[in-house]
């Protein structure tokens, strides 16, 4: 046996890439804030054109009244309320990932939570427009707020619509606070690496954060309690939204299953949207070292779980409609699956109940392009779920002479497109002004730098 002239080289490390250092993390994540390229501006231009079209559609609707929509008596909740519930649902996974997984100390949330949280805030900002957009006299929208007035009239606190006002405005405030608080240490890191007006801006936004022991001590507690508040809040908000329907006696709406069913659906759709956003974001900014395939796999598992809950809820709804023996419920659900809206119902079932079952396979869970395609189907499916609940419910109430058929008309679809553009506009602005991945939390999850050799 020949002797080796040179010692055997060390085996390649198990992980092809070493974990990033603290300095790498700061550099790579702040690199996302560099002046954008042409693609960004082209994207922004598309978004602004879409938003302008949405604004035009709303102006048209204000000028000519709600007659420009496809509303047919008794269907006066259509695309707008569908889209409202859709965006509120999207908003839910952000707080789930940032607050609930924080309380559970789930390590994988770190990489994705900032994106999810920003998505939450912008989705609530989008959702909040729709109750106003669907008003014929939008300038009276402030009437929903209980404020002292000379007529002595107050809101009816027994109405779920007023609960909704409280739930959504609380959710917007608390999720925005949560996002801004989490940003403080990261914005301070950006401040220390920028000049001129940006430095002054970041100095203000970071409230002069320095990262001292005293600041971290109180900050950590504050963050924990905010997460503790956000957790029941996120569950309550979509429950309240579901009660907008469940408290009414419309067949197909009046069910106790609605709150958990809506919450599961919201988390399902939100995680889908997180994937839809993260895949291009990660590619554009080369964040593969921070947002890894295993993070996507974890999101896919949450999707698989919540998709199964949603599928179970669909099955329960149909079972209860049959088992109740109530002819109106039976008729409503039969109409849903095989009546005039069969197409919407089967899009919903295919996208929400069947397609996500593919995620049982690890190969699919770890394939980014496949996940991206599935996430698009989820977004479509969850929009149709709300459409099915709202429109088929209203189109097929108790009296046959009341039955009607609604399809959205162009101003509604224009506003729907505009809402996606409004959301995208905020998101595109966000990723160029604030770190889209949490710098200080990524550092927290990394092994800290040590210098054992340098110590005497």
């Amino acid at each position: 046996m020949a002797t080796l002239a040179t010692p055997i080289p060390p085996a390649a490390p198990l992980h092809a890439e070493a974990p990033p250092s603290y300095a790498d993390t700061t550099r790579d994540i702040i690199a996302t804030l560099r002046p954008p390229g042409r693609k960004y501006y082209v994207g922004m231009a598309f978004v602004l054109v879409g938003l302008a079209f949405g604004a035009f559609c709303w102006g048209y609707q204000l000028r000519y009244g709600l007659g420009v929509t496809g509303y047919q008596p008794p269907i006066f909740w259509g695309t707008y309320i569908t889209t409202f519930v859709f965006w509120v649902g999207i908003a839910h996974s952000g707080t789930l990932i940032s607050a609930i997984l924080y309380l559970f100390r789930s390590g994988w949330r770190t990489a994705v939570y900032r994106t999810a949280e920003a998505m939450t805030v912008f989705a609530v900002m989008t959702a909040g427009l729709f109750p106003i957009l669907h008003l014929g006299r939008a300038w009276y929208a402030y009437w929903v707020f209980p404020y002292p007035n000379f007529r002595g009239v107050w809101s009816n606190f027994r109405s779920p619509l007023v609960w909704d006002v409280f739930a959504i405005s609380t959710y917007l405030t608390v999720s925005a606070t949560f996002l801004l608080m989490g940003l403080i240490p990261d914005v301070a890191a950006v401040r220390d690496r920028s000049l001129g007006w940006r430095q002054r801006l970041y100095s203000m936004v970071s409230f002069g954060w320095k990262g001292s022991d005293r600041e971290w001590h109180h900050f950590g507690r504050m963050y924990l309690y905010l997460a503790g508040f956000a957790t029941p809040l996120v569950l309550s908000v979509h429950s309240v939204v579901s009660w907008d329907f469940a408290m009414a006696i419309v067949p197909g709406w009046h069910a106790t299953i609605f709150a958990p069913y809506f919450v599961a659906g919201a988390i399902f759709s939100g995680c889908g949207m997180v994937i839809t956003i993260l895949v291009p974001l990660r590619k554009a900014f080369h964040l593969e070292r921070y947002v890894q395939v295993r993070h996507f796999e974890s999101l896919a598992k949450v999707i698989l779980l919540t998709a199964s809950i949603v599928a179970y809820a669909y099955a329960t709804e149909y079972f209860i409609a049959w088992y109740s023996g109530n002819p109106f419920e039976r008729s409503s659900f039969y109409n849903r699956a095989f009546g005039q809206y069969w197409w919407a119902t089967w899009i919903m079932l295919t996208c929400n109940a069947f397609i996500p079952q593919l995620l049982w396979f690890k190969k699919i869970r770890t394939s980014i392009p496949t996940l991206f395609v599935i996430s698009i189907f989820i977004n479509i499916g969850m929009w149709f779920e709300r459409f099915v609940i709202i429109v088929t419910g209203l189109s097929h109430e108790y009296e046959p002479w009341q039955w009607s058929y609604y399809v959205p008309r162009w101003p509604e679809l224009g506003i729907l497109v505009g809402s996606f553009c409004w959301f995208s506009m905020w998101f595109l602005l966000f990723i160029k002004f604030f770190p889209a991945v949490a710098i200080s939390e990524i550092k927290e999850s990394l092994p800290p730098p040590v210098q054992a050799g340098g110590r005497r």
């Binding site: 250092s21 603290y22 300095a23 700061t26 209980p146 002595g152 009239v153 107050w154 809101s155 606190f157 027994r158 007023v162 609960w163 409280f166 739930a167 609380t170 405030t173 608390v174 606070t177 949560f178 240490p185 301070a188 890191a189 401040r191 220390d192 690496r193 100095s203 203000m204 409230f207 002069g208 954060w209 320095k210 990262g211 022991d213 005293r214 600041e215 971290w216 001590h217 109180h218 900050f219 507690r221 504050m222 309690y225 905010l226 508040f229 956000a230 029941p232 809040l233 309550s236 309240v240 200080s440 550092k443 927290e444 800290p448 730098p449 040590v450 210098q451 054992a452 340098g454 110590r455």
Partner: protein, 168 residues
């Protein structure tokens, strides 16, 4: 070099910063500050700070919110007594939703206010001894005191493995 009020030690490793903190504590220093890019349990353990009083803000904010939500719903219902669905004017179950949301709203805002108060934010001016590297990958320990104490602190920082020791 006579005007120095503090000494900064810049550390490349969390272990060295912990060693410096422990030496400072062993010599009886009380007036020092630690900067880190991220909260580290090692540092928190070495510093052994008391439980943050932010939680009292959380508790009282939440209780205020609950009281406010119920008060608001009850008082306005009594002020505009409109019977709907044959239900009592003051009907508790729906008011729980209002009370719940205001509990969270005011509790969360009070928690944030507590953090700002106790952490001394906003603090837009300069902090003595702060270095932009402390938001990147270095840990900083700043000791304040008289000339004799500062001389001792310089020695402690050098002995603990500081990459740089400077006066402020």
């Amino acid at each position: 070099m006579s005007a120095a009020t503090g000494v900064v030690g810049v550390f490349g490793g969390v272990d060295a910063a912990v060693a410096a903190i422990e030496s400072l504590k062993a010599r009886g220093y009380a007036n020092y500050r630690v900067y880190s890019p991220t909260p580290r349990p090692e540092l928190a353990e070495a510093l052994a700070r008391k439980e943050s009083p932010v939680r009292l803000f959380t508790l009282f904010g939440a209780l205020t919110g609950t009281a406010f939500g119920f008060f608001y719903a009850i008082a306005t219902s009594l002020d505009w007594p409109l019977v709907t669905g044959g239900k009592p004017i003051v009907s508790w179950p729906p008011f729980v939703v209002i009370g719940f949301e205001t509990t969270i709203l005011i509790g969360a805002l009070a928690t944030v206010a507590g953090m700002f108060l106790f952490a001394g934010l906003p603090k837009l001016g300069r902090a003595p001894g702060y270095d932009p590297r402390f938001s990147d990958d270095k840990f900083g320990v700043v000791a304040f005191g008289g000339p004799a104490q500062l001389a001792e602190a310089r020695e402690i920082f050098a002995a603990s493995g500081a990459e740089e020791v400077k006066d402020v």
